[in-house]
């Protein structure tokens, strides 16, 4: 390499953004050329100077304001759902059956949105756990006194889905149990609350904004699983939870 080539690549070289072959070429040239050596040295010195400038960390006021944002956002989908259901009931005049089915579909879709929103908020808000434990006998009693029901808690570590913790969350305005499972780098949130339905079958499977969502009921509990895991593995997980 000659100086003009190196000059063109000097910033990418300093930033470690060249491929191995180019980087080797630049390095060899820099070792023998005082001018280009000087250019590399200047960039290193400039970087040190810039890193000496104080970092503008978020003030605690901003931190508090951002945490506060999470609360009212929970109310909105619920209100929308209510409005949608009312609108549906009014506009669909004929056939009580159609109306009921559609209303239920709308409610399911809204809940799916809600659980995905809760899943994302938990991951973004760094509030994934209230209790961090892989022991189902620690997690299950932990919910006592925090919820008016006792959710089923199972560790599935033996099947490759270790339980990592739990928290109390809110879906559609009601407090729910949230169990957190891990699969490699992927987090699975399982939301649980009492349901009138006792049917044990998978009631809903959809993908929403890139997240896989599964819904089923079991022993008078509604269960929702949400994850960015691929659908095959999430189905595996759901089957593991439904013996």
């Amino acid at each position: 390499m000659i100086c003009p080539d190196v000059e063109r690549l000097i910033d990418a070289y300093s930033d470690d953004e060249l491929d191995a072959a180019q980087a080797t070429g630049v390095k060899a040239h820099v070792a023998t050329c005082p001018t280009c050596h000087q250019r590399v040295a200047e960039r290193a010195a400039l970087r040190r100077l810039i890193r000496g400038v104080p970092y503008y960390a978020a003030p605690s006021r901003v931190r508090r304001a951002v945490v506060a944002i999470r609360r009212p956002a929970r109310v909105t989908p619920r209100r929308l759902a209510l409005a949608a259901t009312v609108l549906l009931a009014v506009s669909v005049g004929t056939g009580a059956v159609v109306r009921t089915v559609r209303a239920r579909q709308a409610a399911t879709a809204t809940l799916a949105q809600d659980v995905v929103a809760s899943h994302v908020r938990a991951l973004m808000g760094a509030h994934l756990f209230d209790v961090r434990s892989s022991d189902q006998h620690t997690v299950k009693p932990w919910f006592q006194g925090k919820l008016d029901f006792s959710p089923p808690v199972e560790d599935l570590a033996g099947l490759g889905f270790p339980l990592v913790g739990a928290r109390v969350d809110a879906v559609g305005g009601r407090p729910v149990a949230a169990l957190v499972y891990q699969r490699r780098q992927h987090t699975i949130n399982v939301f649980i609350w009492p349901a009138a339905d006792t049917v044990g079958a998978l009631a809903d499977a959809r993908s929403f904004r890139g997240f896989q969502v599964r819904h089923w009921t079991r022993n008078a509990m509604a269960l929702w699983a949400v994850s960015d895991l691929n659908d095959l593995e999430l189905d595996q997980f759901v089957r593991a939870l439904q013996p």
Binding site: E42, A45, P54, A73, M124, D228
Partner: protein, 166 residues
């Protein structure tokens, strides 16, 4: 929220004002929490910074920013007579101030690539995504921004000890 510090730091350098940075970050956080459709775990920081940038862009007109061609006029060394330690501290503080001002006088397009690269340590690919420009443009802007900073900060660089290459 993770990466809130990065969001604030970036907004502060873009706006050059604490109050404006606070507004931008809060707006951006609202957007981030509502419109999470493009959220991926691996690049959550770049994603959040992109939202910060879009929010700032929407809020503040970028036309005719007076700062773009400002000259560093009061860079003269006015160190007081005092003990040696105090003097060294003052010199160090003045250097930091000069570096800070030099970065602030860069045009916004140059300033943001410098901040994202040197302070946040983003890759070219991430910077391209945040600033919405091709990778080649990231490279050329960084090169030109550095040339300007080197010209502005020559004496400080000499004091900072050029030569120890790593």
């Amino acid at each position: 929220m993770p990466h809130l510090d990065a969001a604030f730091n970036y907004a502060r350098w873009l706006t050059k004002s604490d109050a404006d940075a606070e507004d931008v970050v809060q707006d951006a956080a609202v957007r981030a929490l509502r419109f999470f459709s493009s959220l991926r775990n691996d690049d959550a920081r770049a994603w959040l910074l992109t939202i910060v940038r879009n929010t700032w862009n929407a809020r503040f007109s970028r036309v005719g920013s007076a700062d773009e061609h400002m000259v560093l006029d009061d860079m003269k060394d006015d160190r007081p007579d005092g003990q040696l330690d105090a003097e060294a501290l003052v010199i160090q503080r003045q250097t930091v101030e000069r570096v800070q001002r030099a970065i602030e006088t860069l045009p916004t397009d140059f300033r943001e690539v410098i901040v994202l690269r040197e302070i946040e340590g983003l890759s070219y690919k991430e910077i391209a995504a945040v600033a919405g420009i091709p990778i080649g443009t990231v490279m050329s802007r960084l090169a030109r921004a550095r040339e300007r900073l080197l010209a502005l900060l020559g004496p400080d660089l000499a004091r900072g000890g050029i030569g120890d290459l790593s």
